[in-house]
Subunit: 332 residues, 2 copies
């Protein structure tokens, strides 16, 4: 047996022909790819140009993802649809009009903050969390209007609950796990998970070792049992995958992800001075060819074939269908 | 009788609810609107944001034009489809990758030069015209690939002939008239008109008084007779309208169009020290409600109803259908 459709709702690889080939071999029909961490508007345009080049050069393996139709198109043609997202609102700088411009350029997810306070919301590494800012409320409304999904993966708890409340459309935590399973600043409380599910939002389970119990040694069974426990809390329709795969990235990239341009002292984020680099991925999830392991793991902890299909991709497909179009076509 | 469809392939108005209302009243189904003269990339993004706001606020009168389907959609819903164009390649700065980014944002026409030498081609006010530059050849190829039309309205003759030769897809002179009728630096030789027609390109006849015989006093009959003479040279399938309407613009705008940021001394372009501002439009073409005058004028000089329909909009509609999609969908 294999899943009906595989969608991974977060990757940040050092993209290459090798990885595009692995997406095809792994039958991954869609990936939400981060295209900005700390980049400003113009720097992110350069990333778009690089992706345009990828789409042109590797058109036999990948295609631009704009709507859920592209996922189906990709699946039928044995390709992978790439959907863009930001882990930080830096590409909109301080201009709300840039939300729609980015949507026009294919961006479908934006985190309101990345670890730190942003103009919009508080990050999960801040000491105090005042909630969504004035501009944040306006930007959520604008994202709702144009069809860009609010992502609170790296945000603080109060801001996250606040965003769920303010947003008129379901939001996501694209890549994180329950703190109940593995206590980590980036993992989420049951309060957040419940509020997310009640608002028809979704979580993508992360395979980034700092988010896993026993880190790189986390067993497939432990990971899949965690998913089963989360399904008890959130229901089986609110969960999917968001692997946070950062394949082939040099350690300079994780340093940049953590430090961007905001500090002159080294911040280790989820790492530490004696463990500063990218951690090793679990043996059972090394790259995009390993989703079948998770499929089997989910069956082994007792999920029905139907529920496994939901988790492996059908939930995200439904979510994409509901989320990427403008809210009211007549007002656009 | 009225035309089947009206398309004006160049306007640069001081856009307002009043003008959008006139487009609807005049039953203009599509306009190619200039959104950049000398703006760089980021400045042009601000113009896109302003247009996004227009599309949102005035959705009952205008809609975003991306393909010829939008013209039909606009006509059926009694709206006007707005297609974007640049009169200068300044918004791509020196980065060929920005051609595709602008196409994604809806830009469908780009002049390779505006009066002066650009990185791509020579303008019609330069003394010497070496033809299309190295980068110009690459950018034409890229425009051909993504579906952005080369516009040589303000370019010099040798560069124009060179562009026609290099481009693998038909190009346009969106707004100009034959020099044979009215000698002006911006009007075009029969050599250019013939080469344009032989390559399936199109010209849009300008109503900007500096391009008209007797300027603001030009008669409707003289204008329509000129169209009849041009049809003899180019054939009736290569001609349409490109009014160059600059409605409600203050004179500071024509000064900026001519001087941009490239000179510290005042350049009067087609004007002169004692006539520096926008000239008055002909009495029979004041705004978008006056296209029916031209329709009647064309009938009066002997065009068949069928040919008038071609000139008023059907030729542009066919050209749009052939020009705005990527050249080879499989390679994108």
């Amino acid at each position: 047996m294999k899943p009906h459709i595989i969608i991974d709702n977060l990757q940040y690889n050092n993209w290459s022909p090798k990885i595009f080939e692995q997406l095809v071999k792994g039958q991954v029909s869609a990936v939400h790819a981060t295209i900005a961490y700390h980049e400003d508007f113009q720097e992110t345009i350069l990333n778009i140009i690089q992706w345009n080049r990828f789409f042109q050069t590797h058109h036999d393996k990948i295609l631009r993802g704009s709507s859920h139709h592209d996922v189906i198109k990709a699946q039928k043609s044995k390709k992978c649809a790439i959907f863009f997202g930001f882990q930080n609102p830096s590409p909109i700088e301080d201009h709300i009009g840039l939300v729609e411009v980015w949507h026009q350029l294919g961006v479908r997810f934006m985190q309101l903050s990345y670890n730190n306070q942003s103009l919009l919301a508080t990050g999960c590494y801040e000491q105090n969390d005042p909630g969504i800012t004035r501009m944040g409320k306006e930007v959520i409304r604008e994202m709702n209007r144009v069809g860009m999904v609010v992502d609170m993966s790296h945000s603080a708890e109060k801001s996250t609950l606040h965003a769920i409340e303010i947003s008129s459309r379901p939001i996501v935590i694209s890549h994180a796990n329950p703190a109940q399973w593995h206590e980590a600043r980036r993992n989420k409380s049951n309060t957040v998970l419940k509020a997310l599910a009640e608002s028809n939002g979704m979580i993508g389970f992360s395979l980034y070792p700092h988010h896993l119990k026993n880190q790189s040694q986390c067993s497939l069974e432990s990971f899949c049992s965690m998913i089963a426990q989360t399904a008890e809390i959130m229901g089986v329709h609110s969960i999917g995958l968001g692997s946070d795969l950062c394949q082939d990235q040099p350690n300079s990239v994780v340093e940049w992800m953590r430090n961007g341009t905001w500090t002159r002292t080294l911040d280790f984020g989820e790492g530490s001075p004696d463990n500063p680099g990218f951690p090793d991925m679990p043996s059972w999830f090394q790259d995009n060819r390993d989703f079948l392991n998770i499929h089997k793991g989910l069956r082994d902890v007792g999920f029905s074939e139907q529920d496994v299909n939901l988790i492996m991709g059908e939930n995200w497909l439904r979510f994409y269908e509901q989320s990427f179009s403008p809210q009211n076509q007549n007002n656009l």
